[in-house]
Amino acid sequence: MSGVSRSLRASALAAALALAHAAVPAAPASAHVVCVDPGHGGADPGAVGICEEESINLGVSNYLLYLLQHDASFEGSFATRTTDISVALSQRVALATAGGAEAFVSLHHNSGVTIRTFVMYDTTGQQASRWTRSRALATASAERLCVEFSTPHALDCDGVCVDQAPQCSGSTLYVLRENPLPSALGEPCGVGAAEAARLCSTSVYPDYMEEARGYYQGLREFFGLTAIGTSFQAAGGPGADTLRWTESDPERWVTYAIERSDACWGPWQPIASIVSHDDRYTPDDMHYTYIDGTVSYARPYWYRLSVTDERATAVTTPAALPPATPPPAPQALVAEGAPLAGGRASVSLEWAAQQAAGFHVYRSLYESMSDCGAAFDRIATTSATAFTDTTAPSGIPLFYRVRAYNATGGSEVSPEAALVVDSRTGAPEPHESAASWPWPNPASRVGAVHVTLPHNGHVRASLHDVAGRRVALLLDARRLAGDLELPLDSGTEARLSRGVYFIQVLLDGRPLGTRRLVLLQ
């Protein structure tokens, strides 16, 4: 037992030190701070199917965190992890309480399509008042997940259960049992089954957004914040888009702010501000209609409605106008970085483009699950095919995209460029330690290529065509440092054709690099 006690004391000390250095934000007095807990991570991938559960948990968590952090009602909300790292169960609970959270939502995913989607809470170990609140949180989350899911997950999505019940987990779960906060743990289904094969065959998991919105709306309901998201609708028409929404509290006096964008992630342009009870827009103080007659192109527009501390988004269908002829999306976006003083970095971007009058440059600190899944900010507009970003932070992942525009509108965004600029001045960037990979190059399309890993870690290697589309996920697992063989016939159903590709390797979530690879035969 002495050995056990020593190791436990060492673990407790390490956890305390880690907590002392954790960047837990201070809780604003007026906001509801939520701790989002993506399950598993690091050496623990969770359920393994076509995708690893931990990456799906993280993807949903990052998007949920984005929604919370962009809502004043949840300012200061945070996550127990935002990258692929291991976090002990006890540390997850400690982080939640140390960060001043009012609620704890743990995100997991089940691995079978016949398993009901359910949200758990615990009734042991804490006072009844706490688990009554936990049940309310689990119920709100489950109900809103059910509303938001439009995929096969919608089947049997109404489950709320006590974790130790035989139809649920059959055990008391630590993060629920030992948590002093109202706590819920969600288990939507579909990580490893046939449906997941379809969902995960692309580089995105489409339900990230639906699922995150479900939790988000559930949290709004739990904290008594009126949900307007489900009532805000937009429809395209000849020369105008029509927006409709319903006010759930016709007695209140508020101002509705309407914003519009031609991409789901912005930038948002304010187009109208409407005071409630204005009979030009509402005949009965409940149902509102606003017509936007300033649309210019036959393409989808995204609208956002903000009411004090609430926000909802709706998308139009293309209006019946002459089709826009925007330029093609920029290609071959390359990013290279160098550290600057003060924890900043200089990132040089270059891309190729045609028929463009100018370019918008976007940056995000979150990996893009999809166009709408990341918090991309427009950082510059330029007429050149190069730009240097001198405001980027160093030492964390950076994701860039570029969009071309001309007089008729904007293009689709370019494929993403990702990098981490090492914060230690003069230190080599990770990919420089493996400058010669991949080899052989050119390679046989039915053979394998090798890369060199500078250290042990989780490797995610993917193959992309020249348009940036992922054509194969070659590996998504932990590997030892040194030579690593990547069979080119794995992770893709169809045999690769001859041509030029790009192989991207992430090591522990950080880009090792993206290299050109020529496939022959």
């Binding site: 743990s106 089940n110 079978g112 059959g170 008391t172 779960l173 993060v175």
Partner: protein, 258 residues
Amino acid sequence: MIVTTKHACAAAGRLALIALSAALAAAAGCAPSRDSERAAPDTTAAESRAEDLAGRLAPSERDSIDRGPLRSWVDAQIAAIPNFSLGALTLESTSKIHEQYQATTLDEQFGGNEARRSLLVRSPDGRWVLDTYYGMEIVERSGRPAAAWDADRGFRVFDARTDSLRVYEVLGTTAVPWMGAWIGPDRFVVVGDAILTEMSGQPPPDPAPRTPIAWLGDMESRELTTFRGPAIPDSLWDRYARARLDAFAARQPQIQWE
């Protein structure tokens, strides 16, 4: 991963039943009852099991294998489920073991945590290390090590020769492996309880019942065979859950099990 693939293969199932029955019966120190033989759906398999239980397992081989952990599981099922017998375990599915090679070491996984390491089970020749407690961490409670459960459970097999993870069966939220044992140089049994996830390829009834379950793994052929027991009545769930904790405690009394 939840084992849902069903390949009804009579021959493989029969062989698997022989091995499982031998292991469990040896653990329980008894042969299955006549009732249990009548409960078996496959007559040939039942005959093979009876033949096997009559003495196929040589005493010398038995002596080399530690089946102690299985005994407490068998005892718990008998104690908690009315009329439970080994023969009530029926073949549910066979599937390929998904080998999930990972370059992680036992030290990386368990460090100096002796309480957690004490739950690992080595194969008779030391080649394999079985961990049936994936999803459990050890925390300190009142100065003693205590089990802390994550949402997902599973079992893993490490290759001691290369000190790497070879097999990784995450069973998900709905299954609770209790313990495991090696019944040969390359064959292991893991026993536990789990929600019924399918019935003949169809979704289970709602609510789905929880049942005893046993997995027979073969590291040589990479096959995993799953056996199901009868449903645990809801009215007896508390008793069953207590029996499970007692079995855990019998396995490792130094740990507080909850």
